[in-house]
Amino acid sequence: MAGAAVLGRLTWRAADVVGVATETPRVKTIAFDVDGWPGHLPGQHVDVRLTAEDGYQAQRSYSIASAPDGARIELTVERLDDGEVSPYLTDELRPGDEIELRGPVGGYFVWEPSRGGPLLLVAGGSGVVPLMAMVRRRAALGSDVDTRLLFSSRAWDDVIYRDELEGLNGDGLRVHHALTRSQPPGWSGYARRVDAEMLAEVGPAPSERPQIYVCGPTPFVEAVAEALVELGHEPLRIKTERFGPTGG
């Protein structure tokens, strides 16, 4: 079984905010020190719980962005303007605050370098978050597993982890960007939505039997997964995680 050690009950834990970093105008990364954190696998998520003064509570799930690192975890959160929880996390939280979370959750959409490759990661917008945990884990362990990341964003300024990904490109990791709405002058990357032709160019070919992880908004994931099946990738090797228009 793929799951991490979550055999006991996943209890709510106090999580201290130790850092808040701006990724893009709409996206922030919040770092927490979590009391008693049991560790996680790249791709897993946590449940966050907020409590108002009068006892009202709201819960949401967020993917873990960071590679395993002791009691420290990072969540990268996109602000949804009509969201209930995400604007609080991105706008209100500051170092010294404390919230509650429990996890890690999920044993399917996970990858460790020991599982080998080749690996194809396809991200739409903030769908990059669980895939980044895999990329970071790979780098932290010095793995040279053949990894392709195809990352679709609206514009260059919307690219989450842009500088870090530039730095990680190489050593068997190839990062390809697709910018769907606007491109900077002289842009030589993809300037359209992800399609079958793009996926064939980025590879690996179906004959190499890559492990494939796709994460993004539902229409993105539907289109990418369908194109991958069309290209001849085995459906059971395509793992998807989708988020709808709600959730924030």
Partner: protein
């Protein structure tokens, strides 16, 4: 541990969400989010069937036409996804599992729903009978869309919605409770939203 108060958090309560219909930890949405572990399968209806196998006297099988010829029911229910959203008053059309099991002899106490795409989920048989579960092919007066599980999905609204398996192709009746896909991957064996049975150990 008493809950930690989140400084400055007020939340956004909904007046139109009766508390007795929203289980703990859930919020009400008007959207219909999609969650699936892999690509959406597209099985042509002339290759589709629904089977009841396992601890039964003989294989029971319905083609698409045969299933659609059975008496169907319209049901309006609230649904609750383990990812926290609930959707109230969803309108479905389907065939009751009672209708499918009518006349079938079994000593089984559990069932595993199996699906196109390899997905499975486990349920006690008593949660599928007594007017609590359907094979559903209509949503909101329209044929069920593939991304929501069409042509047909299980509908078991009193449990978290991952139990309402999309692209369902049959039930395997079993004497033991055999964990299905999400149940092997960290999610609760039973999944009662009112007891907030989301994950292992809940």
């Amino acid at each position: 541990m008493p809950p930690i108060i989140s400084r400055g958090f007020k939340g956004r309560r909904r007046d139109d969400a009766p508390p007795d219909r929203v289980p703990p930890g859930q919020y009400v949405t008007n959207d219909f989010p999609v969650l699936s572990a892999g690509p959406t399968p597209h099985t042509p209806l002339d290759q589709w069937d629904f089977a009841i196998v396992g601890e039964v006297d003989e294989l029971h099988r319905w083609t698409w036409e045969e299933l659609r010829a059975l008496p169907s029911e319209s049901v309006t229910v609230d649904i609750h996804c383990v990812t926290k959203w609930s959707k109230l008053d969803t309108a479905w059309e389907g065939v009751s599992i009672d209708t499918l099991l009518d006349g079938i002899e079994t000593s089984a106490e559990y069932a595993v729903a199996f699906c196109d795409g390899g997905y499975t989920t486990n349920l006690p048989l008593e949660d599928l009978t007594g007017g609590k579960a359907w094979v559903s092919f209509g949503y909101g007066g329209e044929p069920l869309e593939p991304e929501h599980g069409g042509p047909a999905r299980l509908l078991v609204p009193h449990l978290y919605f991952w139990k309402s398996a999309k692209w369902v192709r049959g039930l395997r009746l079993t004497t033991a409770d055999e964990p299905g896909f999400w149940e092997q991957n960290g999610y609760h064996l039973y999944g009662d939203p009112w007891r907030e049975q989301r994950y292992w150990g809940d």
